[in-house]
């Protein structure tokens, strides 16, 4: 093949290689700019990923909904429609297998299991990873545990922007400050 042709094909490949991460960025920025902010009460624990580094896993308090529909399969997608309480915390308004017209914000979650006795659907919210600097991830977990002990019960929440089913986890807040600053402050005071 001629060099020029090779080069043209390569430039296309290179553009796609740039386009994929760039598109990921634009998508997320769009949601942060125009989406609605919800607060999800949460509890973090810290694992890590071989390529992407340390993150904390967030366990959300909002992970069930009472529904009479009992036909749910593990791992299947579920539309979780949201409401906000007076303080901006997220509450589940409705769950559905299909998109509902007329309802407002929703996120796509994964079915975990259905509790027949309680008639409750358990689901996993997708935004359960918050990446942190490797030295801070474990401290963050400790900080959250301690903050729960010495202050109001569970003051940790995740700030999530939601738009048309997609969600971006922007920050995790403990006692009104970002978890990154919270850990630094703790380290400073120790």
């Amino acid at each position: 093949m001629k060099t020029i042709n090779l080069l043209v094909i390569f430039i296309i490949v290179a553009l796609v290689q740039i386009f994929v991460p760039a598109q990921m960025i634009f998508n997320q920025e769009k949601i942060i700019d125009t989406g609605v902010a919800y607060k999800f009460k949460t509890q973090p624990i810290d694992p890590s990923d071989p390529f992407r580094g340390k993150y904390i896993v967030l366990n959300y308090e909002v992970d069930t909904f009472k529904t009479s529909d009992s036909l749910w399969n593990y791992g299947e997608d579920v539309y979780v429609y949201l409401n906000q309480d007076s303080l901006g915390f997220a509450q589940v308004n409705q769950v559905s297998k299909f998109e509902l017209k007329g309802h407002k914000d929703y996120v796509m979650a994964e079915v975990n299991w259905y509790n027949r006795n309680e008639a409750e659907l358990h689901f996993n919210l997708p935004f359960d990873r918050y990446y942190m600097e490797e030295t801070k991830a474990y401290d963050a977990e400790l900080a959250v545990r301690n903050s729960q002990r010495d202050s109001v019960p569970n003051s940790a929440y995740a700030l999530v922007y939601v738009k048309e089913g997609e969600a971006v986890l922007d920050d995790v807040i403990i006692n009104q400050v970002s978890i990154k600053d919270f850990v630094e402050k703790k380290e400073g005071s120790n």
Binding site: L7, I9, F10, I18, P21, Q28, Y131, E134
Partner: protein, 426 residues
Amino acid sequence: MNSKIQKELPELVKNKVITQEIASSIEVYYLTKKEDSPNRLFTVFAVLGSTLMGLGIILILAHNWDNFSRSVKTIFAFIPLIIGQFSVGYTILKKKSVTWREASGVFLFFAVGASMALVSQIYNIPGDFDAYTLTWILLCTPLIYLLKSQALAMLHTIFATSYACSVGYFSGNESPWLYLILFALIIPHYVQLLRYKSLHNVTSIFNWFLPLSFIIVLGAFVKNNVEFGVLMYVILFGLFYNIGKLPFFDSQKLRRNGYLVLGSLGTVYMLLLTSFEWIWKDVFTNDMVLNSQEFYMVIVLFLVTLGVIAFSYVKKWIEKFNMFQYVFVLFALFFFIGLVNSIVPILLINVLILTLGITVIKIGADKFHFGILNYGLLIIAALITCRFFDTDVSFVIRGLLFVGVGIGFFSTNYIMLKKQRKKAIK
């Protein structure tokens, strides 16, 4: 080794074994060969270097630098990618050497992975490991062909295998169908290697890599019907053995022929495994579901393997009867007999292993190949060892059997050694 031959040349010329002309052309041959070899070594080191650099960058980015703002981190995500792309572009434009192509390609491969990883960190994108690896592999596949890079083709195979393992074995329990597409994407590259570089070391690496990758992944397609999984593997090893027996591969050295070695070892292993009673009684207890993914895969694999044998027949490549090539057919037959009666197939499989062992010994003796001969003896020894565990034969008889095999090892090797000496004297 080369220098040894070169040292001998004056003596050979002096004693008129070869002419001066031949001597000088031998010299020239080795000189040109030498020029080639340090270059190759340099390529290997360059590839290793860029692999380490690429992985290093991924690790550094994985630190998650909290002190930088989101926009600064975003710029960081693209820097390695742009550097990698410029070096690959430069390599293509200036038609740089193999070393350049391999090293810049490998660097770009890891840079793509690094930039996607960093973006998902910055925005806490939950995307699972599988989707991330799949996008990464696909974004870099065209580079294999643009750069004609062997290192990238190897990385592709390794990452595709780990993707399939992740989907099929670890994170989920789904069949990694997309692996087949990733596998197909590498085939044109492999075919070119077989066509134009059939005797290069790189090609023999792929002769091992590709069947190995397939062997690792095949189990991920087995879900509920484990018994068909066993049949699938026996047929797969039969397929590899028959591919290895195609004259194209069979005429090469054994160490280049991964298909034949893996096919043969795998077949023997599977037969030994199924020669135990417990596997038929405990594992093969479920009712067979014929309308299942596993059964369809068995049929496809079976037909493909039969196709390879039929092709060999039409081309008149198969001259002598070789039991190994048909084991998969016999096993399939035994397998379905096993549905009715579990004792008959166990007996038949034991007889089959014994026959295979004897066949291999005979091939080894005919070819005067000690390796093959002892492989045959090992098969029989393994069969006897296995029967130690599940038969109620008295210790005396077991002991006598072992002594018998030991004597067999000695005598066959001794007889062959003697024969070989006689031949050499003649």
